[in-house]
Amino acid sequence: MRTQSTILVGKTIKQLMRLRGGGSALPGLVAERIDPGFMQRTLAQLPRGVVLISGTNGKTTTTKMVVELLESQGLTVFTNRTGSNFTRGVTAALLGSVNALGKLDADIAVLELDEAHAVHFVRRVKPTYSLFLNVLRDQLDRFGEIDHTARLLKTIAEATTDGIVINRDDPRIGSTAFYGDVSAKTVRSYGVDAQLLKLFPSDDSMREADAVVTTTQSTILNNDTSLVSVDGQSAVIRYADTDHSVSLKLKGVYNVQNAVGAVALTRLIMQADLDESAMFTALESVEPAFGRGETIIVDGQPLELVLVKNPSGFRLSLSSFDSADTAIMIAINDNYADGRDMSWLWDVDFESLVQQGVAMVSGVRAYDMALRLDYDKVQFDTVNPSLSAALKQFLSTHSDSPKRIFCTYTAMLALRKELSKIAEVEVIS
């Protein structure tokens, strides 16, 4: 009876919020307050359990990949797509998916959770599997230090029952201190071949002249999944002594790395039942997640939204997306979800934009960004903190060329909303 009234209240708020046009997590918050057991009761029904994906960068895209890879194996998957990766975001997503009796029609849940919220989550729900992507400098105003973030992730690893998958190339996650003493039955690793490591500099090597990446901590575990070569969106993934060539729709070397992680996790979950060819076909057709390299067509020209939220993500985005003949806008907000501290902009090298310059700089912290560009000798045409006005001008001034907007999280949400008034934008709820 309690479940049913919780669902009724939650669903009603969700509909009201949709009419108002905002807030993906509020119905979850209310449901958590009136019925704290709702989430774990509902998730406990799933025959194949709960998969948790965490790390600093790549959670949303990797989660999307894992969902589609598991669906290719015939599973019905529940996931939290909104990027509101708090426990109440999970509850909100559950409210949208259960029927009035509280039955969730799914075999397995694949959830992305932010490091801090994942710790709260695992106190209530023990994940069956978890995947650890990386620990990078991000939102230090919330987490303090990245060593602290690594400790949060370790708590999740320790709570996982059946198996964990680790990125062996991450200096913290790939060390035995992280995975050596967990109680999960299986520990698997994924990573890239040594000669490719230079494509994935860690924060630790950020200010080193020759970005020397040490491989000493990298332990290749039994039954590892590896990236052996990459050329643009084409890659060769190796496991069990067999190479598989894939051609992705997703851009960015970091997404190739995430794909290897998604494959490693899918192999672990499906075990002997794995349908390899279905898995790779699905991998090749994964489209970017919203705001993560997502393309929106405006007036017949592509506009890419690229989420940037920390130094390594911004650096990799700049090096992964070819900027020639593309008009560039950068939108930097400093709301709570973006991180309030602007220091991170100074850890990104913008010299790759010197040649072509930046058309528009926007967001609450537009002038911090403009100042940053100025000190890297990057020319910019206009600074306008108002996102709607800046977007309008950017679109009209560069109506004939492909466009790309690098944006922080809340700037991305605001820009998508503006764009939905004039173009086809997928609704995420």
């Binding site: 230090l140 200010r207 911090d368």
Partner: protein, 240 residues
Amino acid sequence: MTQKSLRILQLYPRDMNIYGDWGNTLTVLRRAERHGISAEVIDYNPGDEFPKDIDIVIGGGGQDSGQLKIQDDLQQLAPTLRELAEDNVPMLAICGLYQLFGHFFKTKDGDMIKGIGILDIETYGSNERLIGNIITHSERFGDIVGYENHSGLTYLADTTQLLGTVTKGAGNNGKDHTEGACFNNVIGTYLHGSLLPKNPVIADWLIEQACMRKYGEFTPADIDDSLAQHARETAMNRPR
């Protein structure tokens, strides 16, 4: 007039660089250029030979693990750095190195990390982190805007010159409204954000002190600081 040139030392950029510390070095470099002075950045990491003829020293913040990595090396370097400080070399030490420029950092577990005693300050670890936008008022520099993120609480001796008085935020210890500490031309502070881009007056002061010491003169150029000015105004009106 001969071309003036400055040698800027980045102290421990590999291990102590956590909060956009490159922004401080870059700002000094670019502003020196705009003042018509050629500048060169030299990195110093543990085990390196300490370079000669350094005109400005800039050091950043680190994680606890970074502080441990540089601790021994810093003690070896202590006499050299103290000599430079006595000799009026301008220095900027942020956060982690600010703490270690003092007498000691006593962690919350009671471990003592020895500092180099250039600044007459003591720091004690705490369970609380002081995090957020901060504004400090200084007689010399006016309003200084920045961002703080530290769990160490720093206390000044009675005679220690402070950098400024906190008007918004926590500062050295969240209690006495002081922020930062100075000795000769050495400035230590918790402020990043990064500090110098949005506080060009401090960057110019470091350059000026370095030029006065080396050449006995400094003629500032008229630099357009409207971007920094706008960025400061925004920062001063944001939530903590």
